[in-house]
Amino acid sequence: MAQQQTQQAAAVPDDGTGTGAEGSRPAGHKPRSARRKGRPRTGDIVRKIVQIVGELLLTAGVILLLFVAWELWWTNVEADAKQSQAVQGFAKTLAGPVAPVAPANPAGPPNYGKPVVAQAPEHGGMIGIMYIPRFGPDYSRPIIEGTGSDILDTLGLGHYGTTGMPGAPGNFAVAGHRQTHGAVLDNIHLLVPGDKIYVQTKDGYYTYVFRNNQIVLPSRTDVLLPVPTQPGATPTESYLTMTSCNPRFGAQERIIAYSLLESWQPASAGPPQDIAKQVAQTRGKG
């Protein structure tokens, strides 16, 4: 009924006398022009209220659509810019060659000794850069200490403070968004066993090899143990555990990707061949 009234009003906008609600229409065949002018009638007020409510609902709908666009697209634009800035800022502070250096003894496999284990920085400090060639030839993301939303929502991968550092026997665990805010681990399900994952710190390059993934409930904190999912076990190897939300546009579960440390080389040995081009590019730009 209210809609019909509005349509009528739109058709004859300046006819202040006609098209009122039935309640206010005088009985009989009294001509419309005989009714009083200038006094707002119930129909007008109802129509105004309906119009304002309708406009507010439309506005709310538009705002929700804009929010979806902001969440799924704009946060990525913002976070990507901040993350590449962080990567380049960090690369600037690094020393060492940006091209692979031939080992002194080319006969045997290079042996650089035990990997250097750095001290964990303060919350918000940068640990290093992660390169995952499977995610694209340009994939490099900063690894920052801490897993609060202040870290994950802008700076990419966050290191769980309760877990170890790269190279140490035990678990080096990081979290990253699957969607929004850079979507740093969007393609985590595409990793294939054997894929290399490189972590570059100020000390050197840690090469991890992806082993398997697992989908768990968010409460499964045992994936962060020194030996993932094995309480009480003493670690003899170095693990890299990455956690992200699952399914891709939801968060009912977590997808966990486990990798094992394969090799280590100091910064003076230059980057592994796989990521040499990227490392050089990052340094050159910075």
């Binding site: 929010f67 946060t75 956690t243 966990i256």
Partner: protein, 56 residues
């Protein structure tokens, strides 16, 4: 509501069109700066950590 605002803007038509565009832009900036970050806490899409309850 929006019609009422548009009718009560000062100036000729083109000025009013420009003013409304500026008002819309202002609303957008306010939403992106304050409203959307606040709203995002109600979506669970951004939960990527394990045991988020224990680890803020």
């Amino acid at each position: 509501m929006y019609g009422w605002i548009f009718r009560h803007l000062p100036g000729p038509l083109w000025v009013r069109i420009l003013t409304s565009a500026a008002l819309v832009a202002c609303a957008l900036v306010l939403m992106v700066q304050f409203l959307f970050p606040w709203m995002s806490q109600f979506t669970t899409l951004t939960d990527s950590t394990i045991g988020s309850a224990q680890q803020p």
